[in-house]
């Protein structure tokens, strides 16, 4: 099966895979996506170029399906979905909750349908995995009139990574027949993306996640502040005379690793640099990770495995040994030759291809 995956963010990245191969046949990005999405005809032209690149890549073969990453699906999408007229209606119903994210994706889907008529389009939602969070985890300590009116609840925003990393571990465990099946399988899942996220997963259900209503809550990111005392925001409003938009810009673009280290750095710099400001930022971040791991383990009542995913998953080897030395329960029954963590360095593109292929095959099996 040949699948084209798309990740619309500030730009649109795409990759075309034959599901038998681990590396993409074609990959690229549309830098002008945010502009062209406002002008359907231009986006259609650009998507048509992508279509031709894909068709040229494999002789006599065309794409079989399209998968699009969607950052937010609210409670409306507790699972990934195949695009139909009804799905599109449900997407439009979400616009009020994510007015910046959803409209361009609806446009993208519509343009894709013109360029790739007859092709199944799969929507993969980053929030879907977290719609099953227990209520005690997703509610906030506020009056119901705010939480209900604004549909405030906690989500995770790296659901695709967490879901895939858990599935990988569970499969591995089953294959190696290592696990006591009478006990629930508890995984501490750390996603190392520019905005990192920790989830506690028991039997394929997320029971905690560090992100909140938005990815701003939780762990500090490359430019995002993470958890904050609300009074700090009110102090910024009072003492700096800043409005919500200005504060939001500082918290989302100037904070996190950038704010602490004084320059733009990523997770590789954070874990490998010897510069003193970076080391200080690393101390803060590692400590926050340790707190979040402790919380997650308390929530699960223990832990069976630690897994790192995300584009910086390889940094898990550095972070993992630091965490394992402080969380003895991760080591299980005793010292073993293998480290007690697993790095799952699979790209999001690849995860999307596998997920979409699995969905389409099971649909096919059902219709047959």
């Amino acid at each position: 099966m040949n699948i084209l995956v798309m990740q619309p963010r500030k730009n649109l990245t795409y990759a075309y895979f034959s599901s038998e191969q681990r590396t993409p046949l074609v990959r690229g990005q549309l830098d002008s996506y945010r502009v062209s999405v406002r002008e359907n005809s231009r986006l259609v032209e650009e998507l048509d170029l992508i279509r031709r690149r894909c068709e040229d890549a494999v002789l006599f073969e065309k794409p079989d399906a399209l998968a699009i990453r969607v950052p937010y699906g609210g409670t409306e999408f507790p699972s990934h979905a195949l695009v139909t007229a009804e799905t599109l209606q449900r997407m439009e119903a979400l616009i009020g909750f994510a007015p910046l994210h959803i409209p361009p994706i609806v446009t993208l889907i519509q343009c894709c349908q013109r360029v790739f008529p007859d092709l199944p389009v799969v929507l993969l939602f980053e929030t879907a995995f977290f719609t099953a969070l227990p209520r005690r985890e997703y509610i906030y300590g506020l009056e119901a009139n705010f939480t209900e009116k604004w549909a405030l609840r906690r989500y995770g925003f790296n659901g695709l990574f967490h879901e895939a990393a858990y599935a990988y571990l569970a499969e591995q465990q089953t294959a190696e027949n290592k696990r006591d099946r009478s006990q629930p399988y508890r995984v501490l899942s750390i996603c190392l993306e520019p905005q990192p996220e920790i989830a506690a997963i028991v039997q394929n259900r997320a029971i905690t996640v560090t992100s909140g209503v938005t990815p701003l809550e939780g762990l500090p990111g490359q430019t995002t502040c993470g958890e904050l005392d609300s009074s700090i925001i009110l102090t910024l409003a009072e003492k700096m005379n800043w409005g919500p938009e200005k504060i939001n810009a500082v918290l989302t673009k100037e904070s996190g690793l950038k704010g602490m280290a004084g320059s733009t750095i990523d997770w590789i710099d954070l874990f490998t640099s010897h510069a003193s400001e970076v080391r200080q930022a690393r101390d803060v971040v590692q400590y926050r990770f340790l707190l979040a791991c402790g919380s997650s383990i308390a929530a699960m009542g223990g832990v069976d495995r630690l897994v790192f995913s995300g584009r910086y998953a390889r940094m898990g080897d550095l972070l993992g040994s630091w965490l394992a030395s402080r969380l003895p329960m991760i080591n299980g029954d005793g010292p073993s030759a293998e480290p007690p963590w697993v790095c799952y360095p699979v790209t999001l593109d690849r995860i999307m291809v596998d997920k979409a292929a699995m969905m389409l095959l099971s649909l096919l099996a059902r219709t047959c």
Binding site: R135, R136, E137, Y140, G141, L142, E143, A144, F146, L152, R154, G212, V213, T214, L216, E217, P220, C225, E227, L228, D229, S230, S231, I232, I233, L234, T235, L236, A237, E238, K239, M240, P244, I247, N248, V250, L251, E254, S255, G256, G259, M260, A281, D283, V284, Y287, L290, L291, C293, G294, S295, S296, I297, A298, A299, G301, G302, V303, R326, M329
Partner: protein
Amino acid sequence: MCIETTTEIMNILVFNCGSSSLKYRLIEMPSERELAGGEAQRVGPKTSEPARIFHSVNGIVEEHRYEMPDHATAFDCVMGLLARDAKLTPHGLGHRLVHGGTLFQSPTWVDEVVLNQLDEVIDLAPLHNPPAIRLVKACQQRYPDLPQILVFDTAFHATIPDYARQYALPRALQDKLHIRKYGFHGISHQYVCTEAAQFLGLPMEQLTAVSCHLGSGGASLCAVREGCSIDNTMGFSPLQGLIMSTRCGDLDPSITLRLLDHVDGDFQSVETILNKKSGVLGLSGFSADIRDVINPSEEEHHKIARQATQLYLWRLRKYLGAYLAVTGKPHAVIFTDTIGETVPEVRWMVSSGMEAFGLRIDRQKNWHLETYPADIAASDSAIRILVIRTNEELAIARYSFATLRENLTLV
């Protein structure tokens, strides 16, 4: 007053100043005997009921009505009540101050310099600091010879390391506005840790513990390593952390921004929402006291009460796990203050199923608690679980006495 004769035995008058109340206790040191105590209520602008002082000596409580437009007047009234008995003469005053900022990191003797410095920290806790500081100044004016010691709720947390103290914000902004984790409830956390160390037969400087101060109003957890605070769930202000009676605790920053936008930037009204209308009260809609919510009397409240209780306990459990992780294998988990001392359901729900951390609670010991301090851990638990009565006034008296004695000896 003759200071030389008082270095052996001193009566310390401890004040705990609320926004409209003044609690006081007269404690003889070093015997720690309580000689008198009471509370001035409805201090400030007139309310529907008269301002009054409940004054207690030897367990006999008297009610006195006075006009008390401010805390200084309330102080005069308290001094008048104590003056009726020569044995109740205070030799020193101990004040609780909620926020000492970075200026005050240990108990401090009040002098001219300190009086001026207090103006720099007055705004840090807008509800609590102003009346307390005004009271200190009034005392100094009226009784310039009576020594005054200030004990700060933030001081115990001065040892929190930078990596736990810092927020992930631009450095220049943090420096400019003094944004950092200050931590609160320090007097209580330090007091119960001292008691725990004694109970376990350890010197305080060796004690590693997680202290859970669960008040009927505010609540916080404190991670303690080798006798020093290394983290507190409250942060820059007391708003962060656990779900409290009327405070929201942790919140996505985007929610605060949305609220701010909703009220056109009126930060004071957001502050009121998050501090006064959220937490247990906001969730339940009928009570700010978690005890009412755990066991609601009205049938109609059951569902909403269960949800509020679950969130309260869940947040607590997650923070306990976080602090067990950062303290390693501590000697003890300590429960204290109204909820921590008297609500076994809370202790049970938070500490059970925590064997992964080496913590195992004993059901019987937890439910049939008769004396304090008590150890409610199972005998095979690697970590003790202690229930200890906090006594912030006694702690203030101890610090005040120690500070006075030290300084007077030097003289």
